[in-house]
């Protein structure tokens, strides 16, 4: 092949690869476009003030109310329970694996934790509804069949590997010199870990926690199966609630006609969800880019 033809072929291939790379940008543009289109139409019928501050969510009913707070409250309640489970457990296991565990334990524990992360969420939902809730009902008599507690606990177990592995990465990135200096001064492993290594890895650990929060907020199947379908502004983890993600699934299972305000609610809620997780992901990213091991 002549050099000219060869160069032309290379150009074509490069163009093709650029298109592939550009598709990711197109995807983001697509998400933003689809969400914005329907949400803007939604806000023509419903006042943003009513949406963001209203305390009743009954868009499909006779007395249409579009206050999204009950859905947000449900989402945050479940996420809070999940984080309360995953963060302490995840950070502790990260510290253990990074500072204490013998190589044998690490070789088994790390892949096992990865398995925990790889299980489909619908399986976790099954577990929450049919195993965890009945078990909890033995200890908490007032617990209803659908509740935020079981869903939150199982969700916590699901994001634990995320917290653990990212925190561990952050802890390993701390320069060994810091650790050794602490030991040289007579610190125990715990004192070195908590007093020196953990603070140095703080941005990485925070990034992990924020990412876990983003995952918990965006999770759908566990809450759709086990947390309930009743939008309710409450702080009680013992009663049925509804999260933003479960609402989208609920409406999708019905057949609300396209173009109605009720249909657009799933996009309005979807936009809120997207914006929330997007901000959290950005924060997490920014924190992770900061140089680990910087001593203040």
């Amino acid at each position: 092949m002549s050099r000219l033809a060869q160069r032309a072929r290379e150009r074509v291939i490069e163009g093709g690869l650029a298109v592939c790379a550009g598709l990711s940008l197109v995807t983001t543009a697509g998400i933003v476009a689809v969400l914005t289109w329907e949400t803007v139409a939604f806000f023509r019928d419903v006042s943003p003030l009513a949406f963001f501050t209203g305390r009743t969510w009954t868009p499909l009913f006779f007395n249409q109310q579009f206050g999204v707070l009950p859905l947000v409250a449900g989402t945050l309640l479940v996420a809070a329970i999940a984080l309360a489970t995953a963060v302490p457990a995840g950070v502790i296991s990260a510290l253990y694996l990074s500072e204490y565990a013998p190589p044998r334990v690490r070789r088994v524990a790390k892949p096992a934790l990865e398995v925990l992360a790889g299980i489909p969420t619908v399986v976790y939902g099954y577990f929450a509804l049919l195993f965890v809730t009945p078990w909890l009902q033995q200890w908490i008599p007032g617990l209803t069949g659908y509740n935020a507690l079981a869903a939150g606990l199982v969700l916590g177990v699901m994001v634990l590997p995320l917290v653990s592995s990212l925190s561990e990465d952050a802890l390993s990135a701390v320069p060994p010199g810091l650790r050794e200096a602490a030991f040289a001064l007579g610190a125990t492993r715990l004192q070195a870990a908590v007093g020196v290594v953990l603070p140095a890895a703080w941005s990485g650990v925070s990034a992990a926690v924020i990412l876990a929060m983003s995952r918990a907020i965006g999770e759908t199947m566990i809450v759709a199966i086990a947390a309930g379908q009743q939008p309710r502004l409450t702080a009680s983890p013992l009663v049925p609630i509804e999260t933003m993600t479960a609402y989208i699934v609920q409406v999708s299972l019905g057949d609300v006609p396209a173009g109605t305000t009720a249909y657009r609610t799933i996009f309005a809620v979807g936009t809120l969800l997207f914006a929330g997780t997007f901000v959290l992901n950005l924060c997490s990213d920014w924190l992770r880019r900061r140089v680990p091991g910087a001593v203040r």
Partner: protein, 282 residues
């Protein structure tokens, strides 16, 4: 023993306990599912069709649907994803556009799966009118796993030493010849690992398929990309919601099948990873 020493020992114990508890949950889940479902897994269950009688129900349509979905999704996502990774890694440089693409992909990886469902609903179902077909489902899942494919592929490409590229270029090969004949074969095991992981993610997704409208009662095996379909996770979801004991067993058995498929796929990933390690050290 000083109090500091004691605290140290206590924390050691605490860490081990937490780990054991977390993995114990995994064990409890597997034991529970096995206890409910193992008795139900049989050839007739794997090849049967859904029925009103729990004991006569089977999951062939769901199994076939899942395999179809995974195949179509891979066909859509793999060329584009690997192409994008090559484009960004080998040709992209460190410019602003490349960095923007990188940030963008990282963000897309963190978008909730239900939002991808809304994207699929808006684009594939409403605009392209692919309706509730395998195509719409596969397209949605392909978009969902694309960031993962790109990120893991880039890592695999990065693993190829620069010396290989430089040697090839020094011998007079063009950039593309270098990529196609030298870099890709060396990165292949790593690429495969990433692809398999992405595909196993697609296999377990439920929410996006529900949002685009996958059916719950599909008593036939799909016959083409435009066919309506159901999938293993959807079948699990459908059966979980039926309180009858029999359907609970069916759901558990389907979970076992799904986990088995995932185990096989991830086993392949581990084998590929080992081959990559051996190749590189050779």
């Amino acid at each position: 023993m000083t109090s500091a020493r004691f605290a140290d020992r206590a924390f050691h114990l605490l860490g081990l306990t937490v780990l054991v508890l977390a993995l114990g949950m995994l064990g409890a889940l597997l034991v529970d599912v096995a206890r409910d479902g193992l008795g139900r897994v049989s050839w007739s269950f794997l090849t049967g069709y859904p029925s009103r009688r729990a004991s006569a129900s089977g999951l062939l349509p769901a199994l076939a649907g899942s395999l179809w979905l995974v195949g179509l999704t891979a066909l859509m996502a793999v060329p584009v994803g690997v192409g994008a990774a090559i484009g960004l890694e080998e040709y992209g440089g460190r410019g602003r556009l490349a960095r923007l693409a990188e940030v963008n992909i990282a963000n897309l990886a963190g978008v909730p799966s239900v939002v991808y469902g809304l994207l699929g609903l808006g684009v594939f179902v409403q605009v392209l009118r692919w309706d509730r077909s395998l195509l719409a489902g596969a397209g949605t899942l392909a978009l969902l796993i694309l960031p993962i494919v790109i990120i893991t592929s880039r890592e695999a490409l990065r693993g190829v030493p620069a010396s290989v590229r430089e040697a090839s270029l020094a011998l007079g090969a063009t950039k593309w010849q270098t990529v196609w004949h030298q870099v890709l074969p060396m990165a292949l095991p790593g690429l495969l690992t990433g692809l398999i992981l992405a595909v196993s993610r697609a296999l377990g997704e439920t929410a996006p398929l529900i949002v685009i409208g996958a059916l719950s009662y599909v008593p036939f095996v799909p016959d083409g990309p435009r066919s309506p379909f159901t999938a293993l996770p959807i079948q699990i979801y459908t059966w979980v919601s039926r309180p009858r004991e029999g359907f609970r067993a069916n759901a558990a058995a389907t979970i076992l099948v799904l986990l088995a498929v995932l185990l096989v796929i991830n086993g392949l990933a581990i084998v590929a990873r080992d081959r990559a390690a051996r190749r590189r050290s050779a």
